[in-house]
């Protein structure tokens, strides 16, 4: 799941304050699940913005509209019907959703209400942890299901840096377990330490180019 958090209210307010009619679009996908950008949060943000702007003598309350997923065109037809009535659109989706929305309505100023933070898991209700950097070269099979790119402060892939504390914590943050300590421990328990004895060559950091992937079942459909 993509996890996001709401931007500071002042920052959002500054983005929209010069517009007369603003539509705040929520997303029923990931940002709804992490309690940041769903229908309920759209209503809350609109109320917060109205109150904050009122203090500056401005009367503006954005309207709200939530679609199932902002990152998929199939969910847009109803929004298409009303989007033109607004001067600007605020999005409570992740960065991908904001861009999809902005591409869909290129003549409209589109603003993000959230900061997209990471790809993570639900540790508990309202408690999320980053577990994947979408590096496009998954090594979890070799590292006992613990991601060294995400969970090591230096994203090392050939063992620890030497800064592991005696109780297996990271030198950068005492609250963070050293990923390589955890990998070593788990591989040892699984009797698979040979996995990390070989030297892993430098990674191919491919995230400088925009990722695109067509599922193999659909290759024919999109073939040019």
């Amino acid at each position: 799941m993509i996890v996001a958090e709401r931007k500071p209210l002042d920052e959002i307010k500054e983005m929209i304050k010069t517009f007369k009619k603003v539509l705040n679009v929520g997303c029923g996908g990931c940002t709804s699940i992490c309690f940041t950008g769903g229908q309920r949060e759209v209503g809350q943000l609109n109320e917060d913005l109205e109150n904050a702007l009122k203090q500056e003598g401005k009367m503006l309350r954005p309207d709200g509209f939530t679609i199932e997923r902002q990152c998929n065109g199939d969910f847009y037809p109803e929004l298409d019907e009303i989007a033109n009535d607004y001067d600007a659109i605020l999005s409570m989706a992740c960065g991908a959703g904001v861009q999809f929305l902005a591409d869909r309505y290129p003549s409209k100023p589109v603003f993000p209400a959230l900061n997209t933070t990471f790809v993570g898991i639900d540790r508990d209700i309202g408690w999320f942890e980053e577990n994947c950097r979408t590096c496009r070269e998954c090594v979890l099979g070799e590292t006992a299901g613990i991601c060294p790119i995400t969970r090591c402060a230096k994203s090392l892939f050939n063992g620890p840096c030497g800064g592991t504390s005696r109780d297996g914590k990271c030198e950068v943050s005492k609250d963070t377990p050293c990923a390589w300590f955890e990998i070593f421990k788990r591989l040892k328990e699984q009797n698979r330490l040979e996995n990390i004895l070989k030297i892993k060559p430098a990674r191919e950091w491919r995230n400088q180019t925009r990722g695109t992937m067509v599922h193999e079942d659909y290759q024919e459909r999109y073939a040019k």
Binding site: G159, V172, K200
Partner: protein, 290 residues
């Protein structure tokens, strides 16, 4: 005798660390280096240590080399990608700097530009591998080089590791040797017992290990190191000596002298790390008879 010949011949090596200036004025560095030059076998110039922006190791080393001082150039993965690292290695070779100490490096979040983006494009194993490739005449992309660099390559090891970390450290040590490590620098050692335990397991690698001896300035510094520097373990006995001593500088020298005496039979060299007390290096050399 070069630093490499020194270690290869089995003659005990003595080195000292000297920070480059924060700025372009090398006069202080020249002053210390000239005073130490005849009495230590090499001077190590750190590369952006602790993420503090300074004059680089490479240019400082080149300046000192011009004065006939044997230097060890330090390079870390924290702030350069693989192009810059390889180029820096070639720069070093072109300037006649053969002794290298290759580190993982400190993340910028520890230093004075804490918002900087950490690079770590290569890890230390990758950096060692890059130096190995270059020595063999090609770069990491497999392209041939015109002129092969000659290096004597060292890297870091935690000589105070215990328990599972010691197993990890030894595994990594073996990998580092495979990637061309000619010698190791074992960070700061404060507990000779831990280092002895480490060397019992590491001696069979038969690769020289140099032990870092840091000049402890105060009880506060010792406690800070124990709390915040991983792998560091300053015994209570040392802290007590610092606590009781009226002359902190003198006891700091005595502690370093005693540590050197304890670890000398176990290792192939010592590196003095003055951490701001560069003026005490000569008195320490006097005490250890150098």
């Amino acid at each position: 005798m070069s630093f490499k010949d020194q270690l290869h011949s089995g003659k005990f090596a003595l080195t000292a660390e000297l920070q480059p200036p924060k700025g372009t004025d090398p006069s202080e560095v020249y002053g210390y280096a000239e005073r130490w030059g005849g009495r230590v076998d090499a001077i190590l110039i750190p590369d952006l240590q602790n993420g503090i922006m300074r004059l680089g190791s490479l240019s400082t080393c080149a300046l000192l080399k011009q004065k006939g001082i044997e230097v060890i150039c330090n390079l870390s993965c924290a702030n350069r990608n693989r192009l810059a690292l390889q180029s820096e290695l070639l720069n070093a070779a072109a300037l006649g700097l053969k002794n290298l100490l290759l580190f993982q490096g400190d993340p910028p979040s520890m230093g004075d530009h804490f918002d900087a983006h950490p690079v770590f494009d290569l890890d230390v194993m990758g950096l060692l591998g890059a130096a190995k490739c270059l020595r063999e005449g090609y770069d990491l992309a497999g392209n041939d080089l015109k002129g092969k660099p000659v290096f004597f390559v060292g890297t870091q090891v935690n000589g105070a590791a215990q328990g599972p970390q010691l197993d990890l450290e030894l595994t990594n040590m073996e990998k580092k040797i495979h990637e061309g490590a000619d010698f190791f620098l074992a960070g700061s050692i404060y507990d000779p017992g831990l280092f002895e335990n480490f060397m019992k397991k590491a001696a069979h690698f038969k690769v020289p290990v140099i032990v870092g001896i840091t000049l402890l300035k105060s009880v506060g510094m010792a406690r800070y190191i124990n709390k915040h520097v991983e792998g560091a373990s300053i015994p209570d006995a040392i802290i007590d000596r610092l606590l009781r001593a009226p002359d902190k500088q003198n006891v700091s020298i005595e502690i370093a002298r005693d540590l050197i005496a304890d670890v000398k039979p176990l290792c192939q060299g010592i590196q003095i790390i003055p951490l701001g007390w560069e003026n005490l290096v000569i008195p320490l050399l006097d005490r250890i008879g150098r």
